[in-house]
């Protein structure tokens, strides 16, 4: 009696053991990053840092590096449509966008801005020396497949809506997404 009931259990164990030896497909982790991945944390909204971030992101993508950009705090202002003048819902959010005009074409220098004279001179010099300006670099970055991840918290903080932002941005994410990418071996850049 006991033998007949035990037998199928043993057979099940053997079948399980055989199944376990069969090659299983590698589980693809959500947000997994290899050694060739770059995560750029784009924090600043200053013109010179916007420029530097774009140069590095486009070059990384052009070099075959999977490039992900987490846009947070003042960085998000560069990704608001140029035509948007006032953004946000509350008076404080509106006031912030009034004091610092959003948009890739309206970035200010952190030093020597001089009411726009600094950025104007930078633009004139860039033209003279064949340096691509931020709007052109941003277009190239999107075309090269750079993945832009806006920070959900900053979007809420500034009262930014998806329709305020330029096309080509991914879904808003949080810090945990970035930390997972970094812990999986992506090279970090904080600008």
């Amino acid at each position: 009696m006991t033998l007949t009931t035990e037998r199928p259990i043993v057979l099940d164990q053997i079948a399980e053991a055989i199944a376990a030896t069969e090659p299983q497909p590698e589980p693809k982790l959500e947000g997994s990053a290899g050694n060739r991945d770059l995560v750029l944390i784009w924090y600043s909204g200053d013109l010179e840092k916007t420029w530097a971030s774009l140069i590095l992101a486009t070059t990384a993508a052009a070099s075959g590096v999977t490039t992900k950009v987490f846009i947070t705090f003042w960085g998000l202002q560069a990704f608001v449509k140029d035509q948007r003048r006032i953004t946000g819902e509350t008076w404080m959010q509106k006031m912030l966008s009034f004091m610092q005009r959003p948009g890739i074409s309206h970035r200010k220098l952190s030093k020597m801005n001089f009411l726009g004279m600094g950025p104007w001179m930078m633009g004139a010099l860039a033209k003279k020396y064949g340096v691509a300006k931020p709007p052109e670099l941003l277009e190239a970055a999107v075309a090269l497949g750079v993945e832009f991840m806006p920070c959900q918290m900053t979007m809420d903080l500034f009262g930014l809506k998806r329709e305020d932002m330029i096309d080509g941005l991914g879904e808003p994410v949080g810090a945990a997404t970035v930390i997972e990418l970094l812990s999986n071996g992506a090279a970090p850049l904080f600008i």
């Binding site: 070059t59 052009a62 064949g130 190239a140």
Partner: protein
């Protein structure tokens, strides 16, 4: 007898004129051009950015594309690249 050492430049499939452009556009334009071509295709790049002489060597190393030829004609740098 030794074989002739003269290596003929392979037939050019595409050209990238990056003359007058500064970092990173010569690399960006080249990467965009290379992306549209099949494996083994030959691209000729012209650039005037002095930094490009080192940058194209590094870019070819990191992408696995082959830098077949690198020449200088006055202020113009010429790179011949074979797509991986």
């Amino acid at each position: 007898m030794d074989t002739l050492e003269v290596k003929a430049t392979p037939a050019i499939d595409a050209k990238v004129d990056a003359r007058g452009l500064s970092c990173p556009m010569p690399i960006v334009r080249t990467a965009q051009a290379v992306k549209t071509l099949p494996s083994g295709a030959i691209v000729e790049v012209l650039a005037t950015d002095p930094g490009s002489t080192k940058d194209f060597v590094a870019w070819c190393r990191s992408t696995g594309n082959e830098l077949v030829e690198q020449t200088t004609d006055g202020a113009v740098f010429r790179f011949v690249i074979r797509r991986k």
